[in-house]
């Protein structure tokens, strides 16, 4: 890897970006998703966080343009130069421009926007072109392979040389032998994903991934992908408070419900649906319920389970009715005792988080089948 002359880099760890216009090749939501995903990759290996702005100046201004577009490097029609970005700094600094004459896609055909954006944001953060043909920062575009984590170790070494490691990043020690000592963190310590003391506020499935909430952050993990994303809750849902109590997803409606105190929000992707927050009492809870510890949606039965202290309530989506009275958790889930922190369903098992333990429960056999660490899902 290499950096720009003078090694310019951002002095702060939370950077803003703004998408000035959209390519007609993709739905705007797909552009938003590709850009966010690209930033998330850089976030996953550094302490950097990225926040989207919809107005005013942002550190990284993103635009689509053709031919001459009021900077020093005009585009050249289809093929050839497909995008460029500027090193950290004021004015143009950090900005990324994409050639509208390319055919931008979210697939492996044409020019994959996520993959190109990921390379360009490498420049926006201070990486120069790499001579390593396997590196993302190599200047020639390669066909995007979605099954492979897009950063090569050379890219990770480069960005961590500038900003240090994410305290939550897993690094294979065999691959990271040449990594220089990370920069001193400038913010209070973030939760350590591999700590044996790790506990979660809430856990839910989310569009095929699993989200693990802790204070003002959450981790995103696909069960079959090694990489873990780490985000600020406010970066996804700016109006949502930190310290989520419980969360569950209803996949057939593409909705996720998040609870905090006696209020709840329904989100679809990174959009909070209008009309929220609402009070939990509209769901049928009695007034003595002030918060929900954990919740999950049982897809097989069409029931939502809400856990409060050592009891649970269930809501039948088909009959749209809540239990009149809560039941003891241990009566329906033998082996699960007392208050639980979080719960979610994966395949045909329920995973209950209780302090430093995670209990895998088989609803068919009605028993706990495994006792796991809370960070079982992460590459620790």
């Amino acid at each position: 890897f290499s950096t720009f002359a003078g090694e310019p880099k951002w002095a702060k760890q939370v950077l803003t970006y703004r998408i000035l216009n959209y390519t007609p090749d993709l739905h705007p939501a797909d552009v938003d998703a590709a850009i966010k995903k690209a930033f998330n990759v850089w976030s996953s290996v550094t302490p950097l966080k990225f926040v989207k702005k919809d107005r005013d100046h942002a550190d990284i201004m993103i635009s689509f343009a053709v031919k001459g577009h009021n900077d020093f490097i005009p585009f050249d029609g289809p093929g050839g130069s497909i995008a460029h970005a500027y090193a950290p700094g004021k004015g143009f600094g950090g900005d990324a421009h994409f050639d509208e004459d390319e055919t931008w896609t979210k697939s492996t055909e044409g020019t994959n926007l996520f993959y190109v954006a990921l390379h360009e944001f490498g420049h926006s953060l201070g990486l120069f072109h790499s001579k390593d043909p396997e590196a993302l920062m190599y200047p020639v575009y390669r066909k995007f392979d979605p099954s492979v984590f897009p950063l090569h170790q050379d890219d990770t070494n480069g960005i961590q040389h500038l900003y240090g490691r994410s305290p939550n990043t897993y690094n294979d020690p065999r691959e990271s032998a040449e990594i220089k000592e990370p920069a001193e963190p400038k913010e209070p310590a973030l939760p350590d994903i591999c700590s044996p003391d790790l506990t979660f506020d809430a856990v839910t499935t989310f569009r095929g991934e699993i989200m693990f909430f802790k204070d003002k952050h959450f981790w995103r993990k696909h069960p079959s992908v090694r990489a873990v994303d780490f985000n600020l809750i406010s970066a996804f849902w700016p109006r949502l408070p930190s310290g989520v109590d419980a969360a569950y997803e209803v996949p057939e409606k593409d909705e996720t419900v998040l609870f905090k105190g006696n209020e709840f929000w329904v989100v679809r992707g990174d959009t909070i649906l209008p009309g929220y927050p609402q009070k939990i009492y509209v769901l049928g809870f009695s007034k003595d319920v002030t918060k929900i510890d954990a919740a999950f949606y049982n897809r097989n039965k069409g029931k939502i389970y809400y856990f409060i202290a050592d009891k649970f309530w269930s809501y039948n989506k088909r009959s749209q009715s809540m239990d009149r009275k809560p039941r003891q958790i241990r009566d329906a889930f033998p082996g699960i005792n007392g208050k639980i922190d979080a719960v979610f369903q994966h395949k045909n098992f329920f995973y209950f988080f209780h302090g430093r333990k995670q209990l895998e429960f088989d609803p068919g056999k009605k028993r706990v089948t495994r006792v796991l660490k809370t960070n079982f899902w992460f590459p620790c």
Partner: protein, 81 residues
């Protein structure tokens, strides 16, 4: 060269010159396209480009070099301007 070969060669030369101008800070100095010496500025620049991109360093417009420079790429130069 037969005429069509000459035209092809001329196209390739223009392509590499443009590539080197865009990404390797090459300044065209009126040098004849076809008479390249080992230490001419364009040969040196081609070698620099081949070295950077991980190609065999020949200083010549071989097929691997031509293939690579026709692929889509990031518009940011490979050497500082």
């Amino acid at each position: 060269f037969p005429v069509d070969m000459r035209e092809k060669k001329e196209e390739d030369v223009q392509l590499i010159q443009k590539y080197l101008e865009n990404y390797y800070n090459f300044k065209k100095d009126g040098e004849s396209s076809f008479v390249w010496k080992n230490n001419s500025p364009i040969t040196k620049k081609i070698k620099e480009m081949q070295e950077f991109l991980g190609l065999e360093v020949t200083g010549k417009l071989d097929s691997n070099t031509l293939d690579l420079i026709q692929k889509p790429r990031c518009g940011f130069p490979d050497v500082a301007g």
